[in-house]
């Protein structure tokens, strides 16, 4: 148990280190002289001359060896300093905190809805494999995975906002604003999730103890609910944890389309702004939070399921 936890945490720390190095390199990889670009952003866009650039580079330690610069940068980062935006010359952290909350809200809502849709469907399909319901659900999930989400977001917005007038077109502020974004993200996750639930239940159902349970006279549905579901739950949780990455991909599009002020839209804006410090901050935050989410899911499973405690 303890060794597993330590191993997972070490693994996460190593990944975080790699992410920080990549994040640091990201800003240095951009085209142009780094000191000049930084200085230009501070001078409201006027071109600095070579003397100014040299002085600036000297003052800010941009001529130091890279490892030294990295350590200084990392130290500032750990104190919450994500740098200043090239476009607004404001600390990026102030923009990010606002948007993190909005993205988190959307992620939790969509994940909940996806589970509410996918788990029952998966159970029913696993209970009646090969049935008409199973096949229809299978087909629908393939189509759900194949339709571009930006496209059906457009169609949904047209239908619900304009033709029916039930929901606002975009923005945030009320629960009504969250309906369409949540729906779009949840449906794309639900397709994959229901396929996974069905698959892992069927696998569980083929195991000997289930045959014993059946022989004891338990009905098939009860077997599924009493035995198969609890035993597959850790797997489903791990899988759901991994789906947060997919949710974020969905959010990039949905937040842009429905004007939801989250991290996804911030990333798109930063890219179109060519605002490298903001892009770097997004990268660090996204990567960092994914490592943490997966670590937390792993640790939860370790507590939940004694069988996995011994496995390193």
């Amino acid at each position: 148990m303890a060794s597993r936890v330590t191993a997972r945490i070490t693994h996460a720390l190593i990944l975080l280190f790699i992410v920080s190095v990549v994040g640091f390199a990201l800003l240095r990889l951009m085209p142009g002289d780094f000191a000049e670009i930084l200085l230009m952003a501070q001078m409201d866009g006027t071109l600095p001359d070579a003397d100014q650039v040299a002085r600036y580079a000297d003052q800010n330690g941009l001529n130091d060896p890279l490892p030294q610069q990295y350590l200084r940068w990392l130290f500032a980062l750990l104190q919450g300093d994500l740098g200043k935006s090239f476009i607004s010359n404001e600390p990026i952290i102030s923009d990010i905190t606002l948007r993190m909350g909005q993205s988190l809200l959307l992620a939790v809502l969509s994940m909940s809805l996806a589970l509410i849709i996918a788990v029952p469907i998966g159970i029913v399909c696993a209970r009646y494999p090969g049935s008409r319901i199973d096949r229809i659900a299978g087909m629908v999930s393939v189509i759900g995975m194949s339709i571009p989400n930006f496209w059906y977001s457009l169609l949904l917005a047209l239908l619900f906002s304009l033709v029916l007038g039930w929901l606002p077109t975009g923005g945030h502020g009320t629960w009504a604003h969250a309906v369409l974004p949540t729906l779009v993200i949840a449906t794309s996750i639900a397709g994959v999730l229901s396929r996974y639930v069905r698959g892992s239940l069927l696998e569980e159902l083929s195991k000997p103890y289930i045959r014993t349970a059946k022989a004891k006279g338990l009905s098939r549905l009860r077997t599924v609910l009493r035995h198969a579901v609890p035993n597959t739950a850790p797997g489903i949780l791990t899988f759901s944890g991994m789906q947060f990455a997919r949710i974020f991909d969905g959010m990039i599009i949905v937040e842009t389309l429905f004007a939801w002020p989250g991290l996804g839209r911030f990333l798109v804006e930063s890219l179109l702004n060519r605002d490298y410090p903001a892009i770097q901050a997004c990268f660090l935050l996204i990567a960092g939070s994914y490592i943490l989410v997966n670590l937390i899911v792993d640790l939860c499973i370790a507590f939940y399921d004694p069988r996995t405690r011994e496995i390193v």
């Binding site: 930006f150 059906y152 169609l155 047209l158 698959g199 990455a245 990039i252 798109v268």
Partner: protein, 286 residues
């Protein structure tokens, strides 16, 4: 990403017999080929703007009408088919090649090399692929090439994982162990014994990654982070026509349905390959 050989086959959408299967694979191969030569049959120049012939309804000369700049929608769809398919194929091929090499290396050499590579690949798999692609493409300066490179960078790790796992499984089989004991070289073992056995999982993965690449490509273009404006690319066509969604829905419906149909077909191919090679197939590539 998780591919296990299983005695139980789940997720069957079609209970395909061998003949049906071969037929479908053949049809898909033909479709992909056809898509690549499709532009030669386009009725009009997809780039030619006709400002006084904008937003025209379908006619004989313009079977799907014209868009906001008076360009032939059908011709643009046909050129887009080639662009999208060729780009997706490039991504799949490059990613599978890199992934195979590194995966085989990990599986054959083992030890610290294997652990390091696998830790890295696992790490990559938890990140939001589209976001990382965007960041890579954005840093490289956007455009078609940048997007393709970004997709490959993110995607090869999936292949490496599959190949590495398959190599490990195959290596423990008696005949391979025997060959190793007899002193056969690594590359010979890989070539003679292992590759023939991992072709199935690879093909299946390729089908799914193709569908993923097409959707990612369209999504990036839609956001304005993919191909150059004016290029006949499906995602971009939707982005450029969305302002006309209400008055001329066909401009948005046509490319959207095309993408959906194409991706459904490719995903079904993946499902059938999965069934054929008796893999428990869960498409959760990103």
């Amino acid at each position: 990403m998780q591919m296990e050989r299983m005695s139980f086959t789940g997720g069957k959408l079609f209970h395909a017999g061998r003949r049906v299967f071969r037929g479908y694979v053949l049809v898909m191969a033909l479709v992909i080929l056809a898509v690549l030569i499709l532009p030669f049959f386009a009725p009009n120049d997809p780039y030619k703007a006709q400002f006084l012939f904008r937003l025209k309804p379908p006619s004989l000369d313009y079977p799907l009408g014209t868009d906001a700049l008076g360009r032939c929608v059908l011709s643009r769809l046909m050129y887009g088919a080639r662009l999208t398919t060729a780009s997706a194929l490039a991504v799949v091929m490059a990613a599978s090649l890199i992934g195979c090499l590194i995966g085989t290396l990990a599986g054959m050499v083992g030890g610290i090399v294997d652990r390091a590579i696998m830790r890295f690949c696992e790490g990559m798999s938890v990140f939001p692929a589209l976001a990382i692609c965007m960041i890579i493409a954005g840093t490289l300066g956007l455009g078609l090439q940048a997007v393709i490179i970004a997709l490959i960078t993110v995607h090869w790790t999936d292949y490496a994982r599959v190949v590495r796992n398959a190599v490990i499984v195959e290596r423990t089989k008696p005949y391979v162990m025997a060959a190793e004991a007899l002193g056969a070289r690594h590359h010979r073992i890989a070539h003679r014994h292992i590759f023939p056995n991992i072709i199935g999982p690879l093909l299946t993965l390729a089908a799914y990654s193709m569908s993923w690449a097409i959707l990612a490509f369209a999504g990036l273009s839609f956001l304005g982070l993919g191909v150059e404006p004016g290029t006949p690319e499906w995602g971009l066509m939707i982005a450029e026509s969305r302002n006309y969604l209400r008055d001329h829905p066909r401009l948005v419906l046509a490319p959207g349905l095309t993408i959906a149909a194409f991706v459904v077909a490719v995903n079904l191919l993946g499902d059938m390959l999965g069934d054929r090679f008796r893999l428990r197939q869960i498409n959760y590539l990103h």
